[in-house]
Symmetry: C2
Subunit: 399 residues, 2 copies
Amino acid sequence: MNRADMVRYQTLYRNELFDSVIPFWLNHSLDCENGGYYSCLDRNGTVFDTDKYAWMQGREIWMFSKLCSIYGKKQNWLDAAALGVDFMRTHGRSENGDYYFALDKEGNPLTAPYNIFTDCFMCVAFAEYFRASGDKQAGEEAVEIYRRIQERKDNPKGVWTKGIASTRNLNGMAFPMIQMMMARELRGLIPQETLLPIIHRNLDVFFSLHVDRNRKRVFERVLPDGGRLLSVMEGRLLNSGHALEILWFVMDLADSVLQDQKMVEDCADIMLWCVESGWDKEHGGLFYYQDYYGYPTDKIESDMKLWWVHNEAVLAMLLATKLTGSTLHEVWFRRLNDYSFDHFADRAFGEWFGYLDRQGKPAFGLKGGKWKGFYHLPRMLMTCEGWLRDMMEQTSINT
Amino acid sequence: MNRADMVRYQTLYRNELFDSVIPFWLNHSLDCENGGYYSCLDRNGTVFDTDKYAWMQGREIWMFSKLCSIYGKKQNWLDAAALGVDFMRTHGRSENGDYYFALDKEGNPLTAPYNIFTDCFMCVAFAEYFRASGDKQAGEEAVEIYRRIQERKDNPKGVWTKGIASTRNLNGMAFPMIQMMMARELRGLIPQETLLPIIHRNLDVFFSLHVDRNRKRVFERVLPDGGRLLSVMEGRLLNSGHALEILWFVMDLADSVLQDQKMVEDCADIMLWCVESGWDKEHGGLFYYQDYYGYPTDKIESDMKLWWVHNEAVLAMLLATKLTGSTLHEVWFRRLNDYSFDHFADRAFGEWFGYLDRQGKPAFGLKGGKWKGFYHLPRMLMTCEGWLRDMMEQTSINT
């Protein structure tokens, strides 16, 4: 990438983060009366549902804390993070310590703690809040939640398990992925000799089970022996956004923790399978879900275009460009960047639309919901902005 | 409706049922090797997923049996029904007698019996199979399942319950509705003095809790005291197809069981709220889900157009036309009929597409899936065809 473009993109991402996305959430999502965050925000920021979804609480705490870690402490970011921390400390946990999935606006529990990912997001939230605020209790809480997740991990849904594993034991890609994410985020709180084997074990799961080099696809759900179950929809499910999220994460680990350039190059190749097979050649944008054989999936919203899929794809392509210098990836980065800013970004009210129809038109105006919070988009803008700065520095050194 | 149109519609519906829909399922869904039915059928009938979803098994047994009851016994229909009955007898039930939600093609259980609606569909399946085949055991099974459902009804999800009722106890419309449906289908197997109070109790739930005469809407989920919870998406959810399904069912009960013409007229009025607020004025067709305030719902597929929504709406409008003579309803019947045959019916391969995008284009080619089986469409065609015959006879008598 030429230096002028680096500067242009870096300015774009930084401005989008600071002038559009952060103000939107600071202005509309904080519940200063009850604590915690509203995440259901309509186009102009109106709260259209007052429930507090625990994934969204954990992710917003993490994001405000991360902003302090990256850009330096700002009181309003730290206060925003503390608002979520206090709310979740007071209301978030069930009797046995696991986190409820949802609470009402006052903090009364709405949905049982059936979902271990809630605990994963709360774990990294406390870890980052500890770094940002110096609140030692938060660090201890992160470690405690982490230990509890490791205890629960072989039976994550507990009594709420509906699938009968003795008939079919398909393993999803989400848990290995979040294990690697947590291992990354808990550096300094959990000994490296505990974390490194977890990273290696889950890298192995990813590369040996989910990455299919013959078919050139990353499968969401695989048999424990690495076999495919292609007779049913769930065994054929592809989600290019999810695969790309894992791939940039693994690529970053390979580069910064493992110093393994071969793994970096390998990730870059696999990323190309995902964008090439996931791209909608008729209307542009990446599909949400696809079936390996091209049949319908069991998700009727499959051909919609989702903000987070594109956020993760942009991250993947920029990191590959940065670490390999590949022009193929740079072309994809530009294409994904252009599609995203043309279709998702809302110039009138700030932030990005979450859900477009296949043609690229917003299906609703929402900026936040049960599943869209202050997370994928600001993380993408912040991370890409940082990488672009690195690239600019690298260029200055080289010239 | 003029007689020429009655004849035209009756011919259309009968031909669609006998020439397009029944052959499609007889040709493609029967698993003669393992028993039971495949329901995941692509545009041309190709099986794209071999799992056996228990709702779809129960509904297909019911439908093939009902065809025998209505049109006279045909061996291939009865054999098709028996194929499902045998499969579900052998494999369908868990140790405690509740039905699994899904099985693999050989009948091994895939999903725990967390869903009481499976049992409801199996109950009416056995009842109708008993009528069609004379198999007394099937009648006894229907009664036994029915009793078990009544035992489970206050805690239908059992250990799989995730919602915390002490915080929020929203009551859905589906269970009262299926209670009325079962009470209707079990006539002759369960004493009328047991069934009539159940019908009355659930009619009361529907009219006093879900029907909101001030707001002119039918709410899916309401507080037990009849209050609304309008601060959150789940309390504002509208589903015009579901409301219309219940309304034609209640209207039919009011006419044939209760002889209550006032209730018939009331249902007809409420039906108009549903079609008028549910109709997409820009692209035509009925939305799947809507929010009472017009905000996004938590279902990102809300603005898609679904076959079953339109099937139930056609039924509702035709029955209202038949029982009240209202020209307003007749106009809606014609509009819904035209939209449905223009957009859902597949002239090339038979049967109907299940899922259209908002603009009315098939989002995929599927004719059957995890949630679309041999049920709503043939039931609509069969029932409407019968009503149109009644209307023709009535016209002959009157002239």
